[in-house]
Symmetry: C2
Subunit: 416 residues, 2 copies
Amino acid sequence: MQAEIIAVGTEMLLGQIVDTNGPFMARQLADLGINLYTETIVGDNPERLEEAIQLADSRSQLTILIGGLGPTKDDLTKQTVAKHLGVDLMLDETAMKQIAAHFKQAQREMTPNNWVQAQVPAGATVLPNTIGLAVGGFSEKNGHGYLILPGPPREFEPMVTQFVRPLLAKTYHPDEEIISRVLRFYGIGESRLATELADLIDQQQNPTIAPYIKADEVTLRLTARAHTDAEAKKLLDQTEQQIQARIGQYFYGYGDDNSLAQVVVTALKAQHVSITAAESLTAGLFQATIGSIPGASEIFNGGFVTYALAAKASLLDIPTAQLEHDGVVSAETAIAMARQSKAKMNSDIGISFTGVAGPDELEGHPAGTVYIGLAFKNQEPVAQLYHFSGGRNDVRRRSVMSGLSLILRALQAENK
Amino acid sequence: MQAEIIAVGTEMLLGQIVDTNGPFMARQLADLGINLYTETIVGDNPERLEEAIQLADSRSQLTILIGGLGPTKDDLTKQTVAKHLGVDLMLDETAMKQIAAHFKQAQREMTPNNWVQAQVPAGATVLPNTIGLAVGGFSEKNGHGYLILPGPPREFEPMVTQFVRPLLAKTYHPDEEIISRVLRFYGIGESRLATELADLIDQQQNPTIAPYIKADEVTLRLTARAHTDAEAKKLLDQTEQQIQARIGQYFYGYGDDNSLAQVVVTALKAQHVSITAAESLTAGLFQATIGSIPGASEIFNGGFVTYALAAKASLLDIPTAQLEHDGVVSAETAIAMARQSKAKMNSDIGISFTGVAGPDELEGHPAGTVYIGLAFKNQEPVAQLYHFSGGRNDVRRRSVMSGLSLILRALQAENK
């Protein structure tokens, strides 16, 4: 089974937007065991689009067209596919009502062009758009499938997750259940992970194991196929167990929509542990990261950005002479910052970040040298030294991630 | 003149990485007046790559191959292009020396495969790689050009900027100078900008005008071609003047590598103005943004994250009764936070952020309601009310951008 993606939109060929839909779809296809050998990006030009569709016909069984469903005269994907299939466009009544209601609510005049968004090639299965106005469609002709999907990622992604994936699973794997599970790791690099799991990844068949590298973390996507949900789940469990036995110490959570910050805030809330911070090189980035998670106010009241030595002294009441003696980039200062922030905010945890973001060195320490201090409940405060690579903002981001990781480990250790 | 991009890499077709090289190259081609009608993404498969190259031969005059230059057995782009051109690969001596030196310095054993990175098809112009080991190349056959470029963006982008763009300009526009200028705007949306400049964009020819939408800002890339640098510059000046006359109030700076934060920190440093902040819903994000700019320590000592009401009272010495009377989401509280942070840090500017990030409402105010307070030097502190759309982190990010914009306007007003 072979699929092909055709992404439609002149703005991609002018470099004005990056195509994230293709990779998103590609991950779904990999899950479903459908091979993707080619993605083609074409502009809003019906002749070149028709050429691309013909080429895809000649070498695939499923063509996935993304974009060009809008109401402007440039949006011609549906028209071109309908012509290619030799059918008319038909209006979907549910979509028509949705469009009419939208314009009524927005008190805007509707143009006839807007009806195109409610159309699909005659005979197509309609794919609802829960966010925007343009519906998608799935047509079949001569055993070849044609998916038509909207271009804006916030419309495209939910449509794929909610409607396209189940449709493809039912169409191309009618007797199988397909389940994916995403495992998230922090603190292990891509190459180290590949080494540790080399034999598992080489032998993978069912479940498949797909690593996905983000800025500071690695996720593994396991996908199993079986006749029943329970069998597929069992396959996932077995493979996960093998993986956890090898790199479980770096594991922090499950799911596509998750993050180390999310897991830490959730754990803090569950264990009713409050937190504060004193930040030097990160300048507020740790606290902003905590604050990015809804409901953070349950465990976070506020804290300190102590960028300069004077601020460490005045805001945290650390004697200037002590700071000068220990140096700003030191375990002693990190510990003092963590301890004092905890005391002043009356929190269960105080965490501190002090070091050299770069590009210049500081106190003779090279860029990337960072001490993270942790005052955890009644435990003796500790500091850990890191040497991060990368530019100024890599160092700052990695500091925050490492701080979150330290807190998670401390919370877990307490729960054991 | 028509070009075609072929991006090579199975990891893109598995959705493990997003192709940013294509759009980067696309912008350069647009600048150079070279049409790009198709980008094809293929895996590490020499047969399918050869097919894509043949197809590109049939409809373009320049084929740009990106990726697949590494030392692994999967990396076959150079070999495939050489075979297509009917030539051998040849070693570039400079690149060989660079590779040998790299392995000596890293004290790692070199494998024969690594020499492939120093090869280009015989007769090609070698394009140096200033970051990594794999050189690029430019070949010509029967009037068709073939560019071979490395896949990692941190190697690809500098190679394009430093070597490919000048090479293409010289090859395809031998008698012209081509200059681009990037104008950056904040506070004007994409559709508003398109409306304001509709006639200019419709009539564009020389200079071309290309809008590029980022998360919270819009950039316009003007590109002029002329016989001399001075003539091209004059064309740019004229068009810029027309644009500034219409939307100059949203303009904040020039250049690809620039940001509102960069411009604000640069202005603060130039005018020797120090700053602090008291942040509620942004929880440190404003200060972290200031701290992301190298040299921020000249104008920023530190500040306050006052997420909860209690922290606004204790860290900023604002009476609890006053906060409860005014409400946390109010102009009065924003002003008190700005004034008190300025006083406590002894700064020239104090800025504050208080409001509702969401998803839930607060004190009866819907998510997106934000007050930004500004205590600017000896001026009477003021507060401005915003209603931001989007999710929790859109609201927080837009708050920070609006705060930066307020500061820039205040600094500019002072300089007039």
